[in-house]
Subunit: 363 residues, 2 copies
């Protein structure tokens, strides 16, 4: 798919993996799972699918240097720093403008920066099918992940009738998108076999997504046209973004377009996927000891079970004695000790910590 | 009591308060409770009872410099470093030799280095009574602490008939010593009113304790006489200790003498006392927040109750979220997270950690 493009959304704020992650060093720039930063792994998986100079990364302005440090193979011109976060519809629109300037007929994939996918070949072949489908039809292609368990933390896509086969992989119409379900509903989805996880991965052509943006978010799209014109007039992208971005409507691409469009289709994934949204998800990707503890770094555990320990300083020992189901994360300036059941409250805790003058530096 | 002496036993190995305490920096050299090291507090409490040059400290050879650093007012000649630990009977015998060389008729108190006592005046007046009694009678005086709760972690002294009043404080014969009781027995002791905690504090004269050592541990005592002779001949104490100490019998003074002697009496304490033997005891001496958490250092707690946090680095934040009844102790090179119920297993954990070549440095 040598004429395809990939735009990676790397806008995380680094709260849920605190204290390992920080505002300036969010999850995608860290080896939360694996030995290299999540973003570097995401880019590595694309090798063979698209040329590296067809890869854009949309990140925060403050994180742009860190992105280039972590992924030095990227074209610095294609690492875009948003001056303020404006949710995913704005990022998709900006991507359509920038890819369109390279090739107005190109198709491009939008991918999150920080998912864990072990089967890179499966990802590439799935995206290849999506590219082919988006070239063959005026459709918005989503990727439906085969549900591995009754997850309550993901949205689902209900599969509709078949659209056809491309590169030996089936593409379906989409019956509907549904929000994160409760446990019972999630189990029913899993049992039914026609509900798939919505991984926030899309493929579409510049003309098709542009038409959808024109129809559904006309003011956002016309504001982004000003950036296109400004660039054509020799303007500086950072300056154009600084002027335009703060005015853009803050809305997700799912809400603004995907859930409303009648031309959304789904390619069934041929790969594993985990967005590893919070600390407890990490243990799915590491071997546990006999008592179910997952340790990264130096730790000594006695009478302890089901704990996750993350402490990357080789000169510091974390010792656990008689404790169960804890998340223990230690860095040079902060240590978090959190019950697994409370992982979702970490974001709020970080807010509280950062509200104290003395600890703002820990954000 | 200007002619009295005090000998402080400061031989702790620093295991139970790991990782704050270490072999070279045990509890008595740390401000586990209070703002100054426990040993410094112990010496400060004696001000007005005996002159500072009547105070000996018996410690490990390796800790001698640290003791002098923490208590610079001490006479360096009176800070004695044992080359190897030989339990308390050896230390008592050595004390009898060294005090006897200052004044063969003197009485001296033996005190642990690391108890928490808030009422220093009460301690001094209790010891004063003990000194007077030991001057008036050929007795071994113990201090009986009025039990504040049915403790199962202390030995008890059962009070016998009255011996007399000295300095307005009653002294009793001792009916018997008993080992650490179970909960039911401890409650019965508390209810009876005639059982007292054995705090390991003694007062006796050089002749009386020398006679007891001669009778009960003759080989130990004669070996220590060799040190006395060696010193009289101009020998160096450290060299004499290095030769003699390793041969000494390893036995506690309680077992060797106190529990066998028929001339043990007890002075009833007029002060509070807590040996703070392990981390959970620390919370008795600090105000807790509304949820029963005791924090020393920088910590942020949410949905957390009954925890003890000890982290003295002002530039490091410890955050607890959704956890209860934990002991969290953080230092530069080690972090302990231990359920309060497992505090007694810390000693074993330290042994395990120290057995690993890479972590021997954490002992």
């Amino acid at each position: 798919m040598q004429n395809g493009y990939v735009v990676i959304m790397a806008g995380g704020r680094g709260e849920r993996f605190w204290p390992e992650s920080r505002l300036a060093r969010p999850k995608q720039l860290l080896p939360i799972v694996g030995e290299t930063p999540m973003l570097a792994q995401t880019i590595e998986r694309l090798e063979g699918l698209v040329p590296v100079d067809h890869i854009f990364v949309i990140t925060n302005y403050e994180q742009r240097d860190a992105v280039l440090e972590v992924c030095p193979q990227l074209d610095p011109q294609k690492v875009i720093g948003e001056p303020v976060g404006r949710d995913t519809a704005a990022a998709v629109g900006l991507a359509a403008v920038l890819v369109g300037r390279e090739d107005p007929e190109a198709s491009f994939a939008m991918l999150p920066a920080d998912a864990v996918i072990h089967d890179a070949a499966g990802l590439r072949s799935t995206l290849e099918t999506a590219f082919v489908a988006s070239n063959a039809h005026p459709v918005l292609v989503t990727v439906g992940i085969t549900a591995a368990y009754p997850a309550t933390g993901y949205g689902y896509i209900q599969q509709g009738g078949p659209l056809g086969h491309y590169m030996d992989r089936a593409v379906y119409k989409v019956a509907r998108f549904v929000e994160k379900p409760n446990q019972e509903t999630a189990q029913a989805y899993l049992d039914s076999g026609d509900y798939f996880w919505n991984a926030g991965m899309f493929v579409w052509s510049v003309p098709v997504i542009s038409a959808a943006l024109t129809k559904n978010t006309p003011s956002l799209w016309s504001a982004l046209q000003a950036i296109d014109s400004g660039l054509s007039a020799g303007g500086d992208l950072d300056e154009l973004l600084a002027t335009t971005y703060p005015q853009l409507e803050k809305i997700s691409v799912d809400y603004a377009i995907i859930e409303k469009a009648d031309n959304v289709v789904m390619v069934e994934s041929g790969f594993d996927w985990d967005d590893v949204g919070e600390w407890p998800a990490v243990e799915r990707h590491y071997p546990a000891d006999d008592a179910g503890n997952v340790v990264r770094g130096e730790a000594h555990l006695e009478s302890a079970s089901g704990n996750i320990v993350f402490s990357r300083d080789p000169d510091h020992l974390v010792a656990l004695l008689g404790v169960d189901d804890l998340i223990v994360v230690r860095t040079g300036d902060a240590t978090l000790i959190c019950h697994k059941d409370k992982a979702q409250a970490i974001k709020g805790l970080v807010k509280e910590v950062g509200a104290k003058e003395a600890w703002r530096k820990l954000l």
